[in-house]
């Protein structure tokens, strides 16, 4: 088995020049994700440090606001979308055709969209209870951290739109293949961040 040239699924030798051509771009994108990891890390630390009586400022806390069932559903949606995203990459590696890839991407987008709807409805119910980001330092930290992840998911959905457009217009060119690899890396990374969010924010808050 050959060594991987870069993180994430590698196209492998059956894809000819597209395999080595992806190396620099995927590596560069991975460096970007590491930078993004620091961004999330700072928000995690800010959120964790604000979970004090002073940070809560007499406002509602995790026990009043978090809905375990909804978070579990969101987690399920996101994990499933990570798997379907993997299947999209795998279809590409196995030369299963642009149609199959587009289908898996569409399923990924639907699952991601479902996640986003649930998250937004949670946000809406919190706002309805008067627990918006302006209520306390702790809630500011919550909305910034979870909201930034949600923004990333939104960007990912737009990205899927662009990828579907590229597949339709240009077919499975080498450049499009690299972009699909980048997207898969991004989407799996967002699931990694979500593990941190549901563990540190939601489960720790409700435990």
């Amino acid at each position: 088995m050959t060594a991987n040239l870069h993180p994430g699924l590698n196209l492998g030798e059956s894809h000819g020049a597209a395999h080595p051509a992806s190396e620099n771009r995927v590596f560069g994108f991975w460096v970007f994700l590491m930078s993004d990891l620091i961004t999330f890390g700072i928000l995690f630390a800010t959120y964790a440090a604000s979970g004090t009586p002073m940070g809560l400022a007499g406002g509602p806390g995790p026990a009043q606001l978090f809905d375990l069932t909804s978070v579990a559903l969101q987690t399920a949606f996101l994990l499933a979308s990570s798997l379907t995203c993997g299947m999209a990459s795998l279809s590409m590696k196995a030369h299963a055709g642009a149609g199959r890839i587009a289908l898996w991407l569409l399923v990924t987008a639907l699952l991601g969209g479902g996640f986003l709807m649930l998250e937004l409805s949670d946000f809406a119910s919190m706002l309805a209870q008067g627990a918006g980001p302006a209520r306390s330092g702790w809630l500011s930290g919550f909305f910034a951290l979870v909201g930034l992840h949600g923004l990333h998911i939104t960007a990912g959905l737009l990205w899927i739109g662009v990828l579907l457009g590229l597949l339709a217009v240009q077919g499975l060119s080498d450049r499009v293949k690299t972009r699909l690899l980048l997207f898969a890396l991004y989407w799996h990374f967002l699931d990694l961040v979500w593990i941190g969010i549901f563990s540190i924010v939601f489960l720790r808050g409700l435990a």
Binding site: E23, N24, R25, F27, G28, V31, F32, M34, S35, D36, I38, T39, I42, L43, T46, A49, S50, M54, G55, L56, A57, G59, P133, A134, R135, S136, G137, W138, L139, S140, G141, F143, A144, L158, V162, G165, L166, V169, Q170, S173, R175, R179
Partner: protein, 692 residues
Amino acid sequence: MSGLFGHLDWTVTPFAAAIADPGTNTFVAAGAAGLVVLGAVALLGFLTWFRLWGPLWRDWLTSADHKKIGVMYCVIGIVMLARGVAEGAVMRAHQAMALNGGPLSAEHFAELFSTHGTIMILFVAAPLVIGLINIVVPLQIGARDMAFPVMNQVSLGLTAAGAALLMISLVIGRFETGGWSAYPPYTGRVFSPGEGPDYWIWSVVPAGIGSMLSGINFAVTIYKCRAPGMTYMRMPLFTWTALCAAIMLVYAMPPVTVSSLMLALDRYAGFHFFTNDLGGNMMNYANIFWMFGHPEVYILVLPAYGVWSEVSATFSAKTLYGYPSLVIATMAIAVIAFTVWLHHFFTMGQSASVNIAFGIATMIIAVPTGVKVYDWMATLWRGRIRMTVPMVYLTGFFILFVIGGLTGVILANPTIDYQVHNTLFLVAHFHNVLIPGVLFAMLAGIHYWFPKVFGFRLHETWGKRAAWLWIVGFCVTFLPLYALGLMGMPRRSSSFADPAFVPLQLVAGAGAVIILLALAATLVCYGVSIRQRGTLAVPFGDPWDGRTLEWAMPAPAPEWNFAVIPAVAARDAFWAEKTGGDPYVAPERYEDIELPRPTALGLVICVATTAAGFALTWHIWWLALSGLVGIGLAVMVRAFATQTTRVLPAAEVAVHHGRWLEAVHTARGITRDAEDSPANRGLAAPDTEVTP
């Protein structure tokens, strides 16, 4: 009020203030604004008169060539340097007269030190460093361009957008008054409801993102695009420092982007990250900001160390002493730099055990820097030293930077820091490391690599005048501030009541005049050199008897850098070829070269970002939304581009390269004695004085 023009109207310009309330204070502000407007009009007139719009568009603004992008970064840096130095001089003049008052209002003075700091760090030092890395690194490692040439353009566009917003703030409205670090809660909306902090935020955020993207680009380029044989331990030291700085950029830029955006959320959306009430924690701002702020100074100074390494080796015609120790020291600094940020706020109120941990880390980081200074001195020892302009700067650096570094070790001790915190002692310290450390290195680096980019040397005499003026000006201006700080004068004071401060303030004020002359001499040096470019030309490309790969090609370097990608067999690759064989041999065969096609993406993003930043500052929501959507659309449309490169046929390269080789073979090289004479056409003859 938030209509078509948001909070904008005529009264926000300094001209209106000067009419309403004439006096020195308002005239200085209106004069500065007038200079910006006049400068912009003059530039537009110049471009139109000499019909330069076409070349500017074709050869520069849409170019993805790393050398051109690097030059544009340096131009931004020099222009902003002029503004920053002018502001510094105004501040010194004001403080020299500030016993019980002074000509400027306290708010105006605060605006000055805030813009001065923001500009000098983010829009002078950073663009000069990033510009130099852009120009030099691909040439040193044998690459045709950066790994991502178009993203390089986008980085430049984002930095330029930040700089543009800073210039706009001089004419429309007022800048922030809380210093370059913009600490809340003072910069929050309760205490600073105006546009000032918003200007700061929307200048810093794009510049931060742009620098982060540059870091990714440099890191991938150095990791993945080196010529065959260019192993890590054969990389020139400038490339090593660029690699470490690049990795630091990737990790140190997110904190400032995040803290600025959190401040923006506080200001625009009523969040409570850093507010006084409802659970805000203003100390966390200082914490996050300096997680960026401290690594940033090492991001700036590491490439400066790289410049000194190249300069000391080349101008003493010796192999760099202690190469492995320099590499290890560079890496050590890059890591330790992330563990010292708390020393910027020792007095915030945490316990002594926290303070001392960061104090010790701060003292430790001085050690690798000390190692480097010894290595450079050992490099010079018994070398064939020529006191060229970069060497004059290096000499100034040796003496002055060591003083600055030692005062840093003093400040690393929390108990001492408590005494001199927020005094002019601190101001003296960081100017003492940043001016001799970074600015001298950048000016030396520009002098050193200028011929490679433009094909002619810079004027040595004017360069030396400038260098001496910078060195003397620095000493006269900033060394007195150590004493003033120890005497108890706080930094950022718009006035003071103790007459004992006056004499040294006058000395520092005189020093500021020398620094103004130094800036003028620097600009004159560039002007004179351009006029005399015929006699200063070095078409053969090796004016300094260089050691590394960038000197093995014509000057100016062709767009494709290397006619054929070289195979590297030694650390000082070009030097090894010069001493062990013939470096000017025609390759057996040429190949087609793939080059990035010009694109306007960087420019589009620059314009959209500037518009969005300006609109956010003034609450012009339709424009802000258009700008942000514009950025997104530009990136998405770009994804559909297929023709992103063009191919340069091998035959064309062969003609160009062959002509140069032929000229080299018929030319006579010069020894180092003639380095600073018109006989120096960039071909080095073996120097008898050099010991093997």
